[in-house]
Symmetry: C2
Subunit: 434 residues, 2 copies
């Protein structure tokens, strides 16, 4: 992508109303713009990150055997009356009346709708087990939206729902999603701490939250330091034993931790850090299937209410969480897995024919090799271009200038470490297209 | 994808409330389910089609130099007060009040929001020209939603917006989008007739609608038969001369046609058919930039309001339009470009070890070759499996049964023509992976 034709409004100044670093950097680096309280437009480079994360989440859901569909954003209030949640849900539910005075709402979650969809087509044990998911915009009318996309009102969530014949099946689905979550966060380069959670308004008796460690997190966590010893490779190869190991280690939110008289973790191994909740899974059994009349016939001919669970990941919130976890004084430092472009190509002198023809050739070759490249072909000073590249945080910067070209070289900079190498064009291309 | 683990609720009966064939087939083939009046959930196989179409639309927008971003579904009423459309827009606008009693709305279109976003960051001629687009859910509170996704209330639209310094620039952007539309519809296997349109509530003085010919279309069109002579290859290679040729040929909606005293087309070349509007483009100049205070500095230091246009494609409506254009008595006939899976693999006898091991091996090899395959591994009668495959409409069916296997063959059926070939497994695989 040529920056001269892109839409990347970066800002040098720190936005006054942004309290946390991810919010500030996402505004400054041109990822998002607020369009109303707690509602954001995703500018082109922000959308690319959002889609990368969405794709990792999708691949891990698919790998776990979940099947993607897409439910609408608006729902009928009648659906929520069937479960009894229409009146129970507080003012965070955005209630809407259409032109025919029908009560509707902007979905904050989809337990009711998926239960109704499944009820209307699943008839027997042969239709189970199933895990269905979608990635769709949700709305929660937060009283005080803040922290940018971390606590916005309109947000992108992946929510999956499992249907099983019995409790053993539900446990298997819950474990499959647990594994998918461990793999998802590991692929995103994040350390996620699973915390046993109270089940709250969704109901049920088994629930875990997944928290990313970050100083600006809204939750205070207490956990066994051994959790941090689980390696990325172990998480990518996670199975039931990984879950057993992780959930066997102490991890509590402050409120729950305070209630425990004797913390089982020795003081020297007890860590206290803040966390950002990015995932939440629930096994709630027959709560919705019973309330909404979903039943299937077993092999033996009995009618039973399927055992259900639900499994959420805050996809848009993850963008903020990753920035919280990965930035420095100069800007964002994207992990490769979610970077909006892999390479930032800087043309230091667009008015110099030989520099421009070299940069254009490199841009063409990177593009042909399928390397996502943001090419700064604007007529700007080098200093401004460097500052933009650091702020935007692409993993690699490739700098093409007149002095280097005289020696037949370009400069390759690794954003994460600041490390620079002077290389021939061919070596630089070989490294980036490897 | 194994059908035994998928979610594909097909129905043999014709749904009572569905008036047109695409609505009936989309319900029967398990593409969609209605969740409220004019609001649909996209079931897994429907979502796959929707995403294929979305991707073709996206590629052609990118190819035309448009840049993707994503605006939220909900908008502040204040934005629409700036353009004066908040009060002017009728009851199709879904008006919402949030918990703080702020007036909001579910976006039916995004001229205001994109103008405000562009206004807050574009400063000079160097920021122009630009075409920005997004693919996002919209809501129009139709008084009588009908025809399934063809006239739903919540629908997926691609809307692009162009910003140019002067009228010549606007004409160039308009032409670039016109070409993108011709290519998009040609790639989707559709014959689209561009019709000069009145500009209506969006305003401006140049506008075209794109109609797909189908007997159930809501518009009656009169056009020069020569429009149908433009070949797919010509459309894929479209440029300004293609546009000049097409727009030089007569094409009018009935209402406009009736107003014309002397139709310029000789009777033997005048065609009258019904059409489904799937795209609409507008050049409206400074209507929004002037009303909302968007201006940029020219090279000469003057402040000017950019010339704008907007360009919509009904992505979810296209699913219905394609089914209208491509089906037979047995079900849907997907064009290859948008088919949810390329191959339907039918295991005729799951209880027969040799049939199942052959089918499993074929499934593995198709999957490894990246051929999207729906594998019917259910314990069902062959007749039911054939009926499902015909209904669902994948381009190819590959049937593995005991009799053929004795002769070392499988059967390959082309859905569009019904043509069947008895082939060795290797020849069948070679044909499908070519």
């Amino acid at each position: 992508m040529r920056l001269s034709r892109y839409f990347l409004p970066v800002a040098r100044e720190t936005p006054a109303d942004a309290q946390i670093v991810s919010h500030r950097l996402m505004l400054r680096a041109g990822l998002i713009r607020q369009t109303a309280a707690g509602i954001y437009a995703w500018l082109p480079i922000g959308l690319r990150v959002l889609k990368q994360i969405e794709q990792v989440v999708r691949e891990e859901q698919d790998r776990a055997g979940a099947v993607e569909l897409l439910m609408p954003t608006l729902q009928s209030a009648d659906l929520w009356r069937q479960s009894g949640r229409y009146d129970a849900y507080g003012p965070e539910m955005l209630r809407i009346r259409d032109r025919h005075d029908r009560d509707m709402l902007y979905g904050p979650t989809n337990e009711e709708m998926i239960t109704a969809l499944f009820r209307d087509s699943a008839k027997s044990y042969r239709d189970l087990p199933r895990i269905l998911y979608h990635i769709q915009w949700k709305f929660r009318d937060e009283v005080r939206p803040r922290f940018g996309v971390m606590r916005g009102r309109e947000f992108l969530m992946k929510d999956a729902y499992s249907f099983d014949l019995d409790e053993a099946g539900l446990r298997a689905s819950y474990e499959a999603m647990f594994v998918a979550y461990l793999r998802t966060f590991a692929r995103l380069g994040l350390t996620a701490v699973p915390v046993k959670a109270p089940t709250g308004p969704i109901g049920g008796d088994l629930s875990h939250e997944f928290h990313i460690l970050a100083d600006t997190g809204e939750s205070a966590l207490f956990y066994d330091a051994a959790i941090e010893d689980v390696s990325r490779d172990e998480l990518l190869a996670a199975d039931a034993s990984t879950i057993a190991r992780l959930t066997g280690l102490y991890a509590m939110e402050e409120e729950e931790h305070a209630r425990i008289a004797d913390c089982p973790v020795p003081a020297e191994r007890l860590r206290s850090r803040r966390g950002i909740e990015v995932g939440h899974i629930f096994a709630f059994g027959t709560k919705y299937s019973a309330a909404m009349g979903l039943s299937v016939q077993t092999r033996e001919g009995e009618q039973v209410h399927p055992q259900m669970g639900s499994y959420g990941i805050g996809v848009s919130r993850l963008v903020g969480a990753i920035v919280e976890a990965s930035h420095d004084d100069n800007g964002i430092v994207w992990p490769e897995a979610v970077a909006p472009f892999r390479v930032g190509l800087v043309n230091m002198r667009v008015d110099d024919g030989s520099v421009t023809s070299a940069a254009e050739e490199i841009y063409g070759r990177l593009s042909d090799a399928g390397v996502a490249t943001l090419y700064d072909d604007r007529d700007e000073r080098g200093g401004a271009k460097f500052a933009t590249m650091d702020l935007v945080g692409l993993p690699w910067q490739l700098i093409v200038g007149p002095k280097g070209l005289e020696r037949g070289t370009v400069e390759l900079k690794r954003r994460a470490t600041g490390e620079r190498d002077e290389l021939s064009v061919e070596s630089a291309l070989a490294r980036l297209t490897a």
